[in-house]
């Protein structure tokens, strides 16, 4: 693997390009329907495509499973990822850095906004209990954490951030149907921009299992955390970002 920058999907032989695809089409199950499935597979780049399963569902819908080879090359050199651009610190180091550089407690306000009531994710980051064997931010002596819980409105959140003089606002969004998470985050970042002058705006950090971490700028936030985030990563990021800011200011 090492060194190679262009790779292909792997079924059982290097370079075979094999992938599996499934989808439903709003067509009855007949030869034409199977042809339609192969057409779609072709457009996705499967060539040859093997239609291995087709099953009629209800009236006029058919589910298909297709296997086949794609010609697409994956260029590892062109992969863009949100790389961790800060060192991972221990709790002790985080506390030390806050004490040294901020000379006061770092204030964090967290919430699930909109109608989202999935608190397990934000609780995993904030509550002492934590996740994956790591304690949450409440456990850090130099962090002051207010977890507002679920279904917090954007005005409530802005208000709490102001009252708490929040250095960072942490928002969780788990429900993604109809892009609810994207709408809510955009609304939130706009409100913070309106309510605070740029220099005093708290750091806006968003998390949830279905975010694209590359979208931070687009959504107007400072950072996005995805599936499997640990509290340590978040704490390290906060220290890094806030002290960088201070340095810049």
């Amino acid at each position: 693997m090492s060194g190679k920058t262009v790779v292909r999907p792997y079924g059982d032989t290097t370079g075979d390009g094999m992938v599996q695809v499934s989808f439903t089409l709003p067509v009855p199950h007949d030869k034409r329907g199977e042809g339609a499935a192969l057409q779609l597979a072709g457009k996705m780049g499967l060539d040859p495509a093997m239609l291995v399963h087709a099953r009629a569902m209800g009236d006029g819908f058919t589910f298909f499973v297709v296997y086949g080879r794609v010609g697409h090359l994956v260029d590892l050199a062109a992969v863009r990822v949100a790389e961790r651009d800060y060192p991972l610190l221990t709790a002790k180091d985080v506390n030390g850095a806050v004490r040294r550089r901020l000379r006061r407690k770092l204030s964090v306000v967290g919430a699930c906004i909109g109608t989202d009531a999935h608190t397990v994710g934000i609780d995993a980051i904030l509550n002492v209990k934590g996740v994956a064997g790591q304690k949450g931010l409440e456990y850090y002596r130099e962090l002051r954490v207010l977890n507002l819980g679920a279904q917090v409105t954007v005005p409530e959140l802005v208000e709490a951030a102001r009252a708490e003089r929040a250095d960072a606002v942490l928002v969780s969004q788990v429900v993604t149907q109809r892009d609810a998470h994207l709408h809510n985050v955009r609304e939130m970042s706009a409100a913070f921009r309106e309510a605070f002058p740029a220099s005093r705006r708290p750091l806006l950090v968003v998390g949830g299992p279905r975010f694209d971490e590359m979208m931070a700028a687009e959504l107007g936030v400072d950072r996005i955390f995805g599936r499997g985030t640990t509290p340590g990563e978040v704490a390290s990021y906060l220290v890094h970002a806030l002290t960088a800011r201070r340095a810049a200011a």
């Binding site: 499934s22 989808f23 439903t24 099953r55 569902m57 209800g58 009236d59 819908f61 589910f63 909109g114 109608t115 989202d116 009531a117 608190t119 397990v120 819980g149 679920a150 279904q151 429900v175 993604t176 149907q177 109809r178 609810a180 299992p209």
Partner: protein
Amino acid sequence: MGKLGLDPVTVARARALAAEAGRPVVELARSHTTVSVERAVLRLAGVAGADPDGIPWVNRLVDAVVADVGLGHGVALPVFDALLREGVDDVTLLAQKAAAGSVRFAVPDGRFRTAARRSADRHVRAGLRRIDRRRAERDRLVARCGDAPRRPWIYLIVATGDIFEDIPQAQAAARAGADVIAVIRSTGQSLLDYVPEGATREGFAGTYATQENFRLMRAALDETSAQLGRYVRLTNYASGLCMPEMAVLAGLERLDMMLNDSMYGILFRDINPVRTFVDQRFSRQVHARAGIVINTGEDNYLTTADAVEAAHTVTVSQLLNEYFAHEAGLADWQLGLGHAFEVDPDLPESFRLELAHALLARELFPDAPLKWMPPTRHMTGDVFRGNLLDGFFNLVGAMTGQGILLVGMMTEAVVTPWLSDRDIALQNVRYVLGAAGGLHEDFVPAPGGFIQRRADQVLREAVGLLERIASGSLLDAIGDGTFGIMRRPADRGKGLDGVAAHEPGYYNPAAHLLEVS
């Protein structure tokens, strides 16, 4: 005797403790009312529709009454007093007038009280009769179309957000074998302090529960039931700030089951505990009358708490839900007590732990249908593994005689169910029930073996917890995070401002008629 050899004395003690812990809460419910209870009464009395902004007339009317005389007397007497005084016949019309500010409300006295009460009773009785007719209609349709061919009933979720996408999907699911269709609500709805109106197409991760959506879906399923020769049941949610009204609308539109838990709203929607306990009691009285099966929400605890550590909290909650349900008039066959397959699949013997837990519920509540919920928390984006876990969940359901099998979806961790997910999930259920449905015959937990020991341990832990709760108070226990690790103090949470203690002379014609019956 059962397969677990449970000690009958311990079981009886658990029930007695649950009653002891629940009794003060029932007292609370009997001595308070809420805006939603009162709106539910008005819905029974015939108030329907909404203003041009979509605010239901029942809300406008209750708000007007509260503004004039407060909530503690109940709205029925002030409203019917005004009706008589204004000489209008239609309560909705009165609501419109009240909203326009052209009606004043007072608490009637003496013969005005008697007259108002008589009028209120008559109107509400008419509403209850509509509910009775829908119940009789259900019985007729079940007799005519035929019923689900076996237990467990196969329960499927539809959740597009758009009632007009939901309908064909629900019909397809029914044709593919679903016995029960649940239309999941939009994420925001349970915190709305009103019930939206009309057919809706814009929910998030669920479709708004409205009377019109209920009607549309029930009509569509009636059509499908007739085609299939099998009555397909419809479910929605009574939970949230409008629990009593939802119960009434469900009764009026012949829904067949309702999610209705005594504590879910408190724990998972941060609704005020008193508000919830008052609302749930009234809503359950309505369900009892409507012949609706309730589904409780113990499964949810295991999404925030650990399914092994917290197994006994499920049992405790089931016993409390049973007590509250019986007290509200529900019969055992109406108790779809919830529990779930949420033990970490990587834990050694996790499947046998599930068997022990599921069998414990089965044997503690032999006459309740029991709602068996699929794995959610330990589902991941690995959909292949997901379908496998769902299969083992189905197997536990079959081996322990669960009454209602909520079908798990391989995409649980990814999206609200797609059409194809439901089809794959139903195939899974069909395979397991068909191939291994009779396996309970050969499933005999070894005496003193792993399964019996585990069930016994959970039961003993449940009794221990009930003792603690009964010697303190249930409200305190909820405040302490006993259930689902959620701490919910009695003086916090949403909707508290919609609660009032009964004033002397409080009158609720519906409660009256329902208690009597």
